[in-house]
Symmetry: C2
Subunit: 333 residues, 2 copies
Amino acid sequence: MVTVYDVAKAAGLSIASVSRALNNQPGVSQATSQRVAHIAKEMGYEPNDVARSLVGKSTRTIALLVPDIANPFFPELVKSVQAKADENEHVLLLADGAGDRHRVAASMTVLRRKQVDGVIVVATALTVDADELFVDIPTVFLDREGPRLGASVVVNNEAAAFAATTHLIDLGHRRIAHIAGPIDLEVSRQRLAGWRRACSTAGLPSSDDLVVPGNFLEDGGYNVGTHITNPSSACTAVFAANDLSAIGFLAYCADNHLSVPDDISVVGFDGIHLSRYTTPKLTTMAQPIVELGRRAADVLFDLIRGEKSVPRIVLSATLLPGASVASPKAVLQ
Amino acid sequence: MVTVYDVAKAAGLSIASVSRALNNQPGVSQATSQRVAHIAKEMGYEPNDVARSLVGKSTRTIALLVPDIANPFFPELVKSVQAKADENEHVLLLADGAGDRHRVAASMTVLRRKQVDGVIVVATALTVDADELFVDIPTVFLDREGPRLGASVVVNNEAAAFAATTHLIDLGHRRIAHIAGPIDLEVSRQRLAGWRRACSTAGLPSSDDLVVPGNFLEDGGYNVGTHITNPSSACTAVFAANDLSAIGFLAYCADNHLSVPDDISVVGFDGIHLSRYTTPKLTTMAQPIVELGRRAADVLFDLIRGEKSVPRIVLSATLLPGASVASPKAVLQ
DNA sequence: TAAACAGAAGTAAGCGTTTACGTGATCTCT
DNA sequence: AGAGATCACGTAAACGCTTACTTCTGTTTA
């Protein structure tokens, strides 16, 4: 490995001058600066970021903790965060599996040791007393309220779920099931709450038998199909807590010769790219995924630069129309 | 930040002893070792990995370069690589956007500076003379042949594409279109070649008008729908170079009231998890995604540990049956 | 009992940078 | 023309750790 020493020797200078030249800092003449740059390139010198991080304050690294990278929602988010990281000349460390509390703790220990400049924590399962995990390291909570301390960028899940459900109600549906997410996630509870409020506001049932537990995955949505489409349940529509669940349910319907939306309407949540390519195309409450990532990253870099305030940014979701909803065949009087 | 010095002072020891104690190395008594451990914990000491990396050889970090993390194939791969990284007490750096040559070069520079221990490079676009990008840093090419140097873990794309196409031929299809991937990717070319060989082996046409260019994304598959289903093309089946393209095509068919597989059969490639939940369920040539990631990581860590040989591992894909293929309605004599 | 040795601890160098400070040489201004 | 300012560069410390080497104490061995 060629170091500043080597370059310095070759240039007949001290390492200090070389360092200054390479970082075009004042204190070196234009001429030497160019000469050094040339020599460095010639020798194939690359600065060692580890050493640089040790002396400087920054590692130029941020981390993103996601519960499940296999859920298409997150890759889309990753892309947008990474773009911002690039922009700020930082590198992205990905930590998957944040759905599990222990893994979150383990990850944070590793990240702290690695001296990452900051962390974006997404929709993870946290114990109530998780505050200390994030102490001393700039953190933005995304799509989940952080512990007491901490900035956050969230979508108003409750309101969005309310709107999604109301959309179905306006179309004439009177019994609407809900495929919930993992109930230990705040977002799941909020979406459930929104569905419930919409139902009760309209004087419709929102009893527990209309809530079927999902897992935010396709199989979750698939497996509850039987329960929802059971004639005795008499549902004409279903609001899924996320798109993957909705897609699973769609598959169930297809396998069982139920037509969506003729037999049953489906509304998803997330607005993942794939929701534009399901059969039928999914009507979904779309989160501003790219915007979420961007804003979170912006806030994080503000924090990293020393910003003291810890903002709480709330973005809103918008209904993305598809072909998976319709008025119920027989609107009950 | 609490350092070894602080711990040493608190324990009345030298930093050397503290270091030894903390890493349970010989040279400290059992008693002191425990005492130090206790004090360190008490003080909330966390070793600084940056410093550790600077003195030691390793940063305990590996990187994964993927062309497009939004393609569900990659998150599944990421998961498996990350599991292996965990196992080896390494952290995963994700670099997206490796579909672009310039970004690959840029990423490698950053990674080299960051002193990552190794890199897994997936299916990226590389210039022919890209060798030098990876010199001096353990590299495994996944799903793509590396430059001259370099270990690789690949799927026999040509053979797999051949088998997928043959499956359609065996069912009686006589005109089979191919939705290709970006043609500057080796994998795309190989899959195209497999399709072509299958067709010509069976004495079927494989002319260029049967090859429609895709982009490995849903919209690519969707947009070529018109061309493929045009009556004058007379295709009864299509083999897509990846699942996302197939899913896009499925969506096109649904939008245009074409039944899959009654009107046209579709075979995908990749075997992403979502292919189990399309309507109809996609028949696809499934890559052993998890295995690919695992093997690549294994090879990489071997390399990191000093292994000299650079293996070339070839895995094979298997046909995952779905409901998107059938015999053509009218088998031509 | 002296010599050899093992164990526990300390000293200090070094990893590759950045940067505060010091030192001449050249320049500016009155 | 001499004092101060400016410039280009060098010296050395610091970042937080690991580790080769040294030192000291106490134990074993002949």
